[in-house]
């Protein structure tokens, strides 16, 4: 892997003595050049702290961060070739949009004519041409967001850091900006490190993502690796909706309370095991099936219907115009569990 950022054994400890909190605990990961990399996790998992370590706003207690082979230790934020899009945007309210975008270039003493050219190009890139003379307060939230992006991208950073950058926008705008961000990342060829707690954002935009939990990396992979093959209960639960089935391994099947589930062949006989199965991978049938259960709740969701079953299981059935049979509340049904949908979990038994 052609690594842009190499993070090795980074720990960050806030406070001291008995109140010390490990915000990051021995985190190691590599981010490739031109990659859209996402740090995903709930609040307090350390994702923003890690981003701030790369930007230079936090100093790791141990470990090192290298950018294109150069160690960043000892470099203050204003000497690092990375730029940040802040969650609150942090635009300079006393400067115009154009002056905001020009700020970093001016600080690096770029020639005036080139600054003007770059500012024009950036305004075009984020589709705000003609807004250069306005003050940030005169722009909508989405427009401010794009100014913040332009202000960071104007410096052609090696890495662009985005801290929960979409969370302040409303849903529709957020979905548009996802596509926009992905397009910008492809067009500029800059490495993006994106921090979010929103699994949809992480899955739709990232080339790869790291799921974080209490200061540690729980799993790293492509969106489909993470979604289809979560290694732990935590990851399976955090990303998407999941059924957990527990039982004992017997004859390459998992013996559960409601029936037998096919499992991969390499699991030890007689061991306790939990597997994760996505609700949309299960199939409902009237007769037979691997598991038997009873429908306790039916939730109509437009494009699909969610069936809740006894034994804390959920099945999602797409609503394609009468093609699928309807089941009644309280009906006994069978569940077909394809082997490919079964993901054994490492941590839970």
């Amino acid at each position: 892997m052609n690594s842009s950022i190499v993070i090795s054994n980074v720990s960050v400890i806030f406070g001291g003595g008995a109140n010390a909190v490990k915000a990051l605990d021995q985190v190691s990961l590599e981010i490739a050049q031109n990659e859209f990399f996402t740090l995903l996790g709930p609040s307090g998992c350390g994702k923003t702290t890690l981003l701030r370590c790369i930007a230079g706003f936090e100093i790791p207690s141990t470990g090192s961060i290298r950018l294109d082979g150069v160690a960043l230790e000892g470099l203050p934020p204003f000497k690092r070739p990375v730029n940040t899009v802040f969650q609150s945007y942090a635009l300079f309210p006393h400067l115009t949009v154009a002056q905001n975008i020009a700020f970093g270039l001016q600080e690096r003493r770029v020639a005036k004519a080139e600054i003007e050219r770059t500012v024009g190009r950036m305004l075009e890139l984020v589709k705000l041409s003609g807004y250069g003379a306005r003050k940030p307060a005169q722009l909508s939230g989405g427009q401010q967001q794009r100014v913040a992006l332009a202000r960071a991208l104007a410096n052609s950073p090696k890495v662009l850091l985005l801290d929960e950058s979409l969370s302040a926008l409303d849903l529709k705008l957020r979905q548009d900006m996802r596509l926009e961000l992905k397009r910008l990342q492809r067009d500029t060829g800059i490495t993006f490190v994106f921090v979010t707690h929103d699994q949809d954002e992480a899955l739709t935009m990232s080339d790869r993502l790291a799921v974080m939990r209490s200061g540690q990396v729980a799993q790293i992979g492509t969106p489909s690796q993470i979604y289809d093959h979560p290694r732990s209960k935590y990851v399976a639960d955090f990303i998407g909706d999941t059924n957990f089935l527990s039982g004992i391994v017997r004859d390459n099947r998992l013996e559960t309370q409601s029936g037998f589930v096919p499992i991969p062949a390499d699991l030890p006989q007689g061991s306790k095991q939990t597997v994760a199965v996505r609700p949309e991978r299960l199939r409902l049938v009237s007769d037979g099936g691997d598991l038997r259960s009873r429908i306790t709740q039916i939730v109509y969701m437009g494009n699909e219907t969610m069936y809740h079953l006894e034994g804390d299981m959920r099945v999602r059935v797409p609503n394609n115009a009468g093609a699928t049979p309807q089941y009644a509340l309280g009906a006994e049904v069978g569940l077909v569990v394809p082997l490919s949908a079964v993901q054994p979990l490492e941590d839970a038994s």
């Binding site: 204003f78 940040t84 300079f92 309210p93 700020f103 970093g104 600080e107 410096n155």
Partner: protein, 267 residues
């Protein structure tokens, strides 16, 4: 707030109380200004319009010197206390430390301490150190009590700023010093200006502390007016007071509009 929502508006006799309140507040000031244009020197009887008393005031060397002293004191105290207050506010911003509340209370305490206490204490302080009373002691005392007044609007302004703004500047290659000049100071300016205006007005109007710590020849305008009053209320006193009022109104108005501009920036 509309009359239908607030039950206080239905309180009987409310309008009369309001009128009485405003009359009590402003009629004396209006009468004072009006009488400063009165031809008759028995200050209470109107006999005709004149600017004479203002001419008399401007030709009185003692009054002019007192006015000069007042301006020197107010300008010096404003300059020094505003710088101190800005430094204090910046030092307090963006960090939490033990005893922070105590510090805040100590900075604000002079606002609550009875002025006569500060006056006596300042006098004792200067005497015990053997510092002769002069215009310098007045300036020192004024710097001390003006600082908390200047501090409040600056701190309020600073707390209203996004703490990430400084990080954004650092992220965009600004060293801390550059970031201060290009970002923090311009954003803080409305707060600094209102702080300075407040300090200026407070210093200009001060009587009690000045009266105690002023040395010979260090008489300021309020102290001089007090001296004139002891002889009797003349139209001359009214004219000086009116001039002082005019200056105060001008400074407060300026401060208000600068504050408005600042508020428009950050919204």
């Amino acid at each position: 707030m509309t009359s239908s929502q607030n039950p206080l508006w239905r309180f009987p006799g409310l309008q009369a109380i309001i009128w009485f309140f405003f009359a009590f507040l402003y009629v004396p000031i209006f009468v004072l200004v009006a009488l400063s244009f009165n031809k008759n020197d028995a200050a209470t009887l109107w006999t005709g319009f004149t600017f004479d008393w203002y001419r008399v005031v401007l030709e009185n060397d003692n009054i002019v010197r007192a006015a000069q002293n007042s301006l020197i004191v107010a300008l010096s105290a404003t300059a020094v206390s505003t710088v101190l207050a800005t430094a204090a506010a910046l030092g307090m911003a963006g960090r939490r430390f033990k005893g922070q509340n105590v510090f805040n209370a100590l900075v604000g305490l002079p606002l609550l301490v009875p002025e006569i206490v500060t006056a006596v204490a300042s006098l004792l302080f200067f005497l015990s150190l053997g510092i002769p009373l002069s215009l310098v002691t007045v300036i020192i005392a004024h710097i001390v009590f003006c600082t908390p007044f200047a501090y409040l609007p600056i701190r309020a302004r600073l707390e209203g700023l996004d703490p990430r703004i400084n990080e954004a500047a650092a992220d965009l290659y600004s060293s801390p010093l550059r970031a201060f000049w290009r970002v923090t100071l311009p954003l803080l300016l409305p707060g600094i200006l209102s702080g300075a205006m407040l300090a200026f007005i407070i210093s200009l109007d001060d009587f009690v502390i000045t009266f105690f710590v002023a040395g010979a020849g260090a008489t300021t305008l309020p102290v001089y007016i007090f001296g004139m009053i002891r002889i009797g209320i003349t139209p001359e006193v009214n004219a000086v007071s009116s001039l002082l009022l005019l200056l105060s109104i001008a400074v407060v108005t300026l401060s208000y509009f600068l504050g408005q501009r600042g508020a428009a920036h950050s919204s």
